[in-house]
């Protein structure tokens, strides 16, 4: 399964003051809660003067591509895959 979603979601994050990092730990999408176990890639991207942060995260079964708009502070689930197709 591989789908482009582009839907706003709720996200619980952890901010590490020592490393200065923000890591998504739990997301809620379509009423279901997914606990994140791994952050596999993070990239900030400049869109004009705004910065959009893209997080590639996973749990045991699925990979999620999340996007945080630093201007609106909205989290969007961009893409989801289980790696099987």
């Amino acid at each position: 399964m591989h789908e482009f979603i582009n839907e706003k979601i709720s996200v619980v994050t952890v901010y590490d003051r020592i490393k200065g990092t923000v890591i998504p730990k739990r997301i809620k999408w379509q009423g279901r809660i997914y606990d994140i176990t791994k952050l596999s890639y993070y990239k900030p991207e400049r869109v004009g003067r705004n910065i959009v942060h893209t997080f590639h995260v996973s749990n045991e079964a699925m990979d999620f591509k999340l996007r945080l708009d630093s201007y609106t502070l909205h989290w969007t689930l961009i893409e989801v895959t289980d790696g099987n197709s």
Binding site: G48, H56, D63, N84
Partner: protein, 420 residues
């Protein structure tokens, strides 16, 4: 001079070539861990006729290669996973790779989106450890700072050619050195087309002159290469290159900016084609103005769906700077095409570049300066709010047309990436 029997270069190998293995695919596997260890191909389009840009290391084991169609790949392995390119992801990997390599020398040259050359010659006095140790450190840093799934092959040689050849010897995750002691042994195991820069046409040319192996090329006299095989200075370049002397550390100046687009929905509708032309001109104009240049000439190339080809170029009477000028020039040339056939691919390029500040103001066109200011203002808005926040009206509804792509080779495109 020199050339009757030039010896092999006996200097210490100080050029390092780093090649990220299956870059597009491994970057995807890095970002999506559930794709790791599976045959995956990154393609231009996820459709049967989409072109495979990069198979993963696992897919290569099934014989899947760059340039194949998706359907051909699936014939070789029916469960092949297809993904389209994540342009931003690959560019981010490249920028991180460049950042790592810049820590080791003052001369770092990206050769493409997944290849970087580090020249240690300027810093050889301060290097107090073997280059193989530095290469291992870079490999470890790539895993730590880019991602644990990213692997690279590293080659070390006395020139860029030998370093690249060394990087290609053991893939994936190789580390090889070519020096004057092992060069003959390594050439003895390679074919002519394994040498970077020798394609099938050059191979045929060499074969006609009795050169069938890299060793025979190495032993060929200069006169044979220069006067008979290549019939140009190229023969002299090969004579030095294959012996390990540097002749490829040349930076070419940019002479043109171009954009092209393979139409997903092929059409002969002039209105639709004009809209695409406008978008191409806007993208090209943004890059032109970012480098503070104006162009005197415009070139249009069209590939029709019957595989016939038409192209024309023309010099304009005024330098073009604003998108409107570029579009007007492009449309003028475009209208000269003698056919009204279905277009499969449309390309536009501007050439004869001059510094934009030096371009002469027109005596008669008073609006020229205003147009420049409008263009600059539009660029500022797009810089602030993102690409295509403000566009010419002709581009309305073209949001998903002319997708952002990474060109093969793409050294020139990388300049734009750093400028951003």
């Amino acid at each position: 001079m020199e050339t009757a029997d030039l010896p092999l270069n006996h200097n210490k190998p100080l050029v390092m070539h780093i090649d990220l293995n299956s870059c597009f695919a491994t970057a995807m596997q890095q970002a999506f861990p559930h794709l790791r260890g599976k045959p995956l191909a990154v393609a231009a389009y996820n459709s049967p006729r989409g072109c495979i840009l990069a198979p993963s290391i696992e897919a290569k084991r099934f014989g899947i290669k760059t340039g194949m169609r998706v359907m051909e790949g699936k014939h070789l392995y029916k469960d092949l996973i297809i993904r389209t390119t994540d342009v931003q992801l690959v560019r981010d990997v490249h920028v991180r790779l460049k950042r790592i390599t810049r820590d080791y020398s003052t001369i770092v040259s990206p050769k493409s989106i997944d290849e970087v050359v580090i020249d240690f010659n300027p810093v050889q006095i301060v290097i107090r450890r073997p280059l193989t140790e530095i290469a291992s450190e870079i490999k470890a840093r790539i895993k730590k700072e880019i991602g644990e799934w990213i692997v690279c092959s590293v080659g070390i040689g006395t020139n860029r050619f030998l370093a690249k050849t060394a990087a290609g010897l053991h893939k994936p995750n190789g580390l090889d050195v070519i020096n004057h002691q092992n060069i003959r042994h390594i050439y003895s195991k390679l074919k002519l087309v394994d040498l970077n820069g020798i394609n099938h046409r050059y191979q045929a040319r060499l074969n006609i002159n009795g050169i069938f192996t890299p060793l025979q090329l190495l032993d060929a006299p200069l006169d044979l290469l220069k006067k008979q095989v290549f019939q140009s200075i190229t023969g002299f370049y090969w004579y030095r290159r294959i012996r390990g002397y540097e002749i490829d550390n040349v930076e070419f100046l940019r002479k043109s900016y171009g954009q092209d687009y393979a139409l997903g929905k092929q059409t002969s509708d002039p209105e639709e084609l004009s809209r695409i032309l406008m978008k191409l001109c806007e993208k090209m104009g943004r890059r032109l103005r970012r480098s503070s240049k104006a162009a005197n000439g415009i070139h249009i190339a069209i590939l029709y769906n019957d595989y016939s080809f038409w192209h024309r170029q023309s010099l304009m009477n005024q330098p073009m700077y604003a998108t409107r000028d570029l579009y007007r020039g492009a449309q003028l040339v475009f209208n000269q095409q003698p056919y009204k056939k279905v277009v499969a691919k449309l390309s536009v390029a501007c050439y004869d570049l001059i510094p934009s500040a030096k371009s002469q103001l027109s005596l008669f066109d008073e609006g020229d300066d205003k147009l420049r200011k409008v263009s600059d203002a539009m660029d500022s808005i797009n810089n602030k709010y993102g690409e295509f926040s403000i566009t010419p009206a002709l581009m309305i509804g073209l949001d998903n047309t002319v997708i952002d792509r990474i060109a093969f080779g793409a050294v020139k495109e990388l300049e734009d990436l750093y400028l951003k």
